[in-house]
């Protein structure tokens, strides 16, 4: 690719591209004022993300996993400045992007980070030809003016994602779901970003198409030195993509570890529950006993460790005192049982008796 690779976020800088510290996002979900006055109902705040500390390593893939509603997409939207944090620091190459008020100061940063969305059907303008869709970020950021140069760049991007230059003339509805996701990736790459936030990039796609897209994302990372934050609820997808994994539960990280280590030896009881409940094609457990317990409401999270209502190791301390994320060299875990050394050995998901 001939696009410039200099500037903020370029490969070869500091090892950490984005540093999140205490990042918090609260949503006001109070009932309407009238209901509060007449029915005496209270203001309500939903803590979608609550004090998140995470380092996103340059040129690598960091993944977030966790159940629906745990705050993954909110983190993604905070990172690409679609949301402003309620509190905390988000340092992208020395700049706190959460505090930048000035749109002009944000513009060059936004060009460096792009988001790939889950639904390739909803995120492409159906009335625009593919060429115009892909060129839009180039025009918006004023990267190229000459129409011929823009056309060349669009052709180059299309070929990079495995489509043909001639596809620029067609409309989104003429493409399959996988091809549409390729188009949105081409659009995401148009402004030469260094950081791609991929929120469930394949969950709307068939597994056969998913394999094409995941391979493409890894090829692009290798060729362009991109940094990824990948969000998925699918542990197998995360296993294939990620170098580092953060497991989220009710707005907080409960475990962060290098991917190999996390899969070999998960430590947080919630990480273990996740790994034990994912049905596995290669090692099916046909007598699986589902674990009881509903996910608690994020509006009313349990005190102490948020996981204690479902945790087999919970004791009085867990019910009262919130465990912090502790780094012990093998990764970070927020669990009293781990700290107290009363965590049983891990025998592996899908293993007999495991």
């Amino acid at each position: 690719m001939t696009a410039p690779r200099d500037g903020i976020g370029a490969p070869g800088g500091e090892a950490v591209l984005v540093r999140l510290r205490g990042v918090t996002k609260h949503f006001d979900v109070s009932p309407p004022l009238l209901a509060r006055l007449l029915e005496g109902r209270r203001r309500q705040v939903l803590k979608a993300v609550d004090g998140l500390d995470l380092d996103v390593a340059r040129g690598r893939t960091t993944a977030l996993v966790g159940e629906s509603g745990c705050g993954k997409s909110t983190v993604a939207r905070l990172l690409v400045t679609l949301y402003r944090p309620t509190a905390g620091d988000m340092i992208f190459e020395g700049v706190d992007i959460g505090r930048l008020r000035d749109r002009r100061a944000l513009a060059p940063l936004r060009r460096r980070m792009q988001m790939i969305f889950q639904d390739p059907f909803a995120s492409l303008n159906p009335r625009w030809r593919v060429g115009r869709i892909i060129a839009e970020p180039i025009r918006a950021h004023g990267l190229l003016d000459d129409p011929a140069a823009i056309r060349r760049r669009v052709a180059e991007l299309l070929e990079h994602v495995g489509l043909r230059a001639a596809d620029a003339e067609r409309f989104p509805h003429e493409f399959s779901g996988g091809q549409r996701q390729r188009i949105s990736i081409a659009r995401g790459l148009a402004s030469s970003p260094h950081f791609l936030v991929c929120d469930e990039p394949t969950s709307a796609l068939d597994v056969s198409v998913q394999a094409q897209i995941l391979n493409l994302l890894r090829d692009l990372q290798r060729d362009l030195g991109l940094t990824y934050l990948v969000i998925s609820h699918d542990l197998a997808v995360v296993r294939f993509m990620a170098d580092t994994i953060g497991v989220m539960y009710l707005g907080r990280l409960c475990e962060v570890a290098p991917a190999d280590l996390l899969f070999a030896r998960p430590r947080h009881p919630y990480t273990r529950l996740l790994m034990e409940t994912v049905p596995d094609l290669r090692r099916p457990d046909r007598d699986r006993q589902p674990l009881a317990g509903e996910v608690p409401s994020p509006l009313d999270p349990p005190p102490g460790c948020a996981f204690h209502t479902r945790c087999p190791l919970a004791d009085d301390r867990c019910r009262q005192e919130r465990p912090g994320l502790r780094d012990d060299g093998a990764g970070q875990v927020a669990c009293h049982a781990v700290e107290e050394g009363r965590l049983p050995a891990w025998r592996g998901a899908g293993m007999p008796g495991g």
Binding site: A211, L214, N215, H233, D280, L281, G293, V295
Partner: protein, 328 residues
């Protein structure tokens, strides 16, 4: 398969008439389900899984219609039933569970009222008897404190609990067959595990048969007894789950199984099936998979392969399941 099949589908064809001619979205599907059996139906998006399920339960969206073939449930022909006759079969002998529980629940009525009304539509019971049965059903699908929950509204339940209420509704009249179309796709893994365990328990304890339509091969591997693989409106392979997953015959099934990532390792690349499934309007001649098939030969491009038994499975592939020489 031992014993009589509960459901038999023969050469089912579903078409949508359009100005440019009929769109054939299910093209000659034949399958059987035995009592107490879970048949998993898998395949690419748009392969015709939902249309097959909808045709069996008489819920094709007009102008979609059954244009050929026959469907029998315990010997009774279903595809020729009138709307009035269907009302006595659907809900009574076949139940349905769809992806979004909210489409099956009325937000204005309590869960208990919806259950008792459905029960009394199909079974000759007093209000009190129906309410007792509703409570038992909620308990059976794993809703704690079922007695108190009867008076709750759907929005007071979590997503997984709502889906369990829908299953309870489908069970009201002890149906022989449940068609479950992506019943766990919108749910988290922990809740998904509860729903699939529940479906399996129904099959074991009540001999209910389940047609489980899903994209999730992990769910299939843990839940289904047999699997039917669809591609471009056609059945390409059927067989016991272990054989289809681990020793697939059809090249599409093989490609599908190989491209699924697993938690247990991190290969440098995933296997890929190049290209995309053809739309109903652009069906290639011969085997519908031939433009993407690494094994395609001369007959594949011109002649449609028949389903041929290769025990324990059966497949439609000129290379992997060539027709046996006629013995005479």
């Amino acid at each position: 398969m031992a014993g009589q099949p509960l459901l038999t589908v023969r050469d089912l064809v579903v078409e949508f008439p359009t100005r440019r001619g009929a769109l054939r979205v299910v093209d000659g599907v034949s399958l059987d389900i035995a009592p107490g059996e879970v048949l998993g139906v898998v395949g690419e998006s748009g392969a015709g899984k939902s249309q097959t399920g909808a045709a069996i339960i008489g819920l094709l969206e007009p102008p979609g219609r059954i244009a050929g073939g026959a469907v029998h449930l315990e010997g009774q022909r279903l595809d020729t039933l009138s709307g009035e006759q269907w009302r006595r079969v659907r809900g009574r002998r076949i139940g349905a569970v769809f992806q979004d529980p909210l489409t099956s629940l009325n937000p204005l009525y309590t869960v208990g009222r919806q259950l008792t009304e459905t029960i009394r539509t199909h079974l000759d019971m007093t209000e009190a008897q129906a309410r007792a049965r509703a409570r038992a059903l909620l308990g059976e699908v794993g809703i704690p404190a079922a007695g108190e929950r009867l008076d709750a509204y759907p929005h007071q339940f979590s997503g997984g609990m709502r889906q369990r209420v829908v299953i309870a509704l489908a069970l009201c009249a002890n149906p022989r067959l449940i068609i479950a179309d992506e019943p766990t796709t919108a749910l988290d893994v922990s809740i998904q595990a509860q729903i699939t365990a529940l479906l399996k328990r129904l099959c074991r304890d009540h001999g209910t048969a389940v047609m489980l339509i899903t994209h999730d091969m992990g769910v299939i591997a843990e839940t289904a007894d047999r699997v039917a693989v669809m591609y471009a409106g056609r059945l390409v392979e059927t067989g016991p789950v272990d054989a289809v997953v681990n020793r697939p015959l059809h090249p599409y099934t093989e490609g599908l199984m190989a491209c699924i990532p697993t938690m247990h390792d991190r290969p440098p690349r995933l296997a890929q099936i190049e290209g995309a499934m053809p739309a109903p309007r652009a069906m290639p001649p011969g085997c519908a998979f031939h433009p993407r098939c690494p094994l395609a030969m001369e007959p594949c491009v011109s002649m449609r392969p028949p389903m041929v038994a290769r025990p324990p499975s059966a497949a439609a592939c000129w290379v992997r399941a060539p027709e046996p020489e006629p013995v005479s």
